[in-house]
Amino acid sequence: MNDMTVQYSGKVLAFTPEDPREAQIPSDELHEHLQDPSTARTSRLKSRCRWKHASGGEFVEKGVQAGIERMRLITEAHKASVGKPEVIRRALMLSNFLTNTTLVVQEDEFIVGYHAEDPNMFPLYPELSYMAVLDYLKTDYAPQPAAEAADIVAYWKPHSLQAKCERYFDPVDLRRGYQVSTMEGPAFASGYNSIVPPYETVLEDGLLARIKLAESHIQEARAEMGAFPWNADAGLKWLDKVDNWEAMVIACKAVVAWARRHARLCKIVAERFESDPKRQAELLEIADICQRIPAEPCIGLKDAVQAKWFTFLLAHALERYASGYAQKEDSLLWPYYQASLAEGSQQPMTHQQVVELIEMERLKISEHGAGKSRAYREIFPGSNDLFIATLGGTNGDGSDACNDMTDAILEATKRIRTAEPSLVFRYSKKSRAKTLRWVFECIRDGLGYPSIKHDEIGTQQMLEYAKYSKTGNGATPEEAHYWVNVLCMSPGLAGRRKTQKTRSEGGSSIFPAKLLEISLNNGYDWSYADMQMGPETGYATDFKTFDELWEAFRKQYQYTIALAIRCKDVSRSQEIKYLQMPFVSALDDGCMELGIDANELSEQPNGWHNPITTIVAGNSLVAIKKLVFDEKKYTMTQLVDALKVNWEGHEEMRQDFKNAPKWGNDDPEADDLIVRFYEEIIGGEMSKNTNYSGGPVLPVGQAVGLYMEVGSRTGPTPDGRLGGEAADDGGISPYMGTDKKGPTAVLRSVAKVQKNQKANLLNQRLSVPIMRSKHGFDIWHAYMDTWHDLNIDHVQFNVVSTEEMKAAQREPEKHHDLIVRVSGYSARFVDIPTYGQNTIIARQEQDFSAADLEFLNVDL
């Protein structure tokens, strides 16, 4: 029973549960009572879900293992295609895999298709990073036979993206990049990637139409080349285009045949294995769907969800690995929802059947394992991979984009209660109340998502980047409304054309807290890598002014950000030569029209990069300025000496630094300097870099699990933090537990950062009793409107009590449905290592005082 009350506007507000039945549920097990799968089938599917989550780098469920088929089949094709154009080889690799791989269909499922030869397996990618695959060979997850896998890795080592890129770097720079100390390791060494597949062309056109289009382009090209008079400049340009179109045809034909293999499998299972007439009929229905799509356009929602799933597998796991689940899911599926719910539909469904279908889609994603390197399993503790779909926002004409499909997705999400896929909701003042209520229901049930992005800011960002389009064909004002989150935070276009295809655009990270640490020590990382990590910029003990430290940091940041962006662009240059994606290219209207591979064609720049641990660095600078340079309470020598011994024997001094003003309290003493830090250094210096796509690189500050991983690698810092403690958990989030002036003070601080960056992650933890009371929705809604008016880009919420998290630490076996927001993703609390769990418990749980409610001007 909660007895919290607040006096506000002449009333006494009590925060008892809106649903009186909740009063009977012990507050330390609330989340175990919230799931409500809509059918017996989805309840069964959830209870037998083959989760692929990792924790501490290890898979949580037993029996999870890497498969060998993808490695084996792409290698066979690579060896057999020597001498052919590289893009054709890539198409043949995909084709050989799709033709010969083992297919999987599971009991009870309606959406079929898997990316490995057994539902407990996941594929590996030796053509990307040999280091990432070698890592698997040393573990129990190694593909079998292990000797064959080792031979395959040895074969790929000289051909891999990693080997192709490494030769362009000074070994000193390379070694610094591989430390994951001041920056995320280069993409060519990790294989980590992201993409926004143009799902729309598959659903709307079907692949047979795309094949026809490519074939007609080849005919046109041949006609042009045969025309008189011959002109070499113009004529030779057709050669690469013809290769690309031919590769698209090979890839799309292989995909159609692969989908139809699924149709045959379902028919055989129905006729030879299944005895239940209802399930037999359903398997024959699935067979009919897989026979028609993705070859043909979709006629209803069942078609659309299956076609979307096949496309996801191909773009994210089979042709190449890419993290993410980027799509404007409600807009994408809305025409098919309408078709299926219309009178006389060829594929009729009810709204509740749509909800069930989306619950099944969410469980498919939960089973989708990613063959990431150990480092990337460690930096997403409790997660499988980053799967994030986007909803809401506005249409191209500015009208509200929320629809009944949006509501079905949100209802399914609340009911089935899985950590993945996460959702982003684009918040607009035009968003309809009915949908906002569903968004709120998911948030207050503690899912940690939808995370909220500002609709207008995202649209403006698309238009801003369009200005730099190298082809002069960036997003139009109408297209700019059709954006999604590519992964956790960076926005990017969705749709038939101009989407992001590789992670030389949004993504990869730089770590300001470690950069501050080395700025105090002449560029040397004494606490982790034990090596020179950047230029020699002097020792802080010799700095006479705060500006000298500021400029030393600037130089370290300049060196590291330039190296990080160079790594991304060198990767891109080699992806263009050796990692073509003919299937994805066939889906993009631009690649199809121009005969250019998806890695190469860039019409819309999207050059984001992630500063992670900015607030530890910012708070540290505030403390140094105040205590060393302004008040002169301590000398720099005293500070450096204390840091070198992790503050041991200097506890009083540590408390002084810890109690210095902190970000997130609307305190000018902290905020003025930190705003300058964000705008002049973090955004200002980053945006001086121009990437492959021709645009400036802009900060998209976030954290993923790196705030823990990098925190553990960062020594003691002048904000009073001990060496190895976690860093700040979001791009612009206050450091855990230091935002003590209430939720609206946090908003006022964050709103001060406006120049050159509007994509920073803000984590907030809200009071469970307030959110679950009858006032919860009105307070949250007023908070969101205020957030929107303050022009803040992002916010996401944990609504979970300390009591329940501590109960889960004591008895994890009783808390499998407790989900928390870690940073750009959510996870089951019990799957997160204790170190990470404690960072979530330590976050400030925000109540709403009368002053907060007045600031929000909430009508209660």
Binding site: R48, C49, R50, G63, T99, N100, T101, T102, L103, V104, V105, Q106, E107, D108, E117, D118, P119, N120, K253, V256, A257, R260, R261, R264, L265, I268, V269, R272, F273
Partner: protein
């Protein structure tokens, strides 16, 4: 020696299928583990020597 086309799990690929080839078939088997049942399909040649799953028609 027994061959795949003598096995219960061998299903010849229809001649109008995109991936049709003479003698090629789908080997469809049922598996079960603690999470439930599932079915696998892998392409085989009718003349291939049999595997440990062989089950005479």
């Amino acid at each position: 020696m027994a061959t795949c086309n003598q096995c219960e799990f061998f299903n010849p690929i229809p001649s109008d299928a995109d991936d049709y080839a003479a003698g090629k078939g789908d080997c469809v088997t049922e598996k079960r583990d603690e999470k439930g049942k599932y079915w696998l399909s892998r392409p085989v040649d009718e003349h291939a020597s049999t595997c440990s799953n062989f089950h005479k028609q």
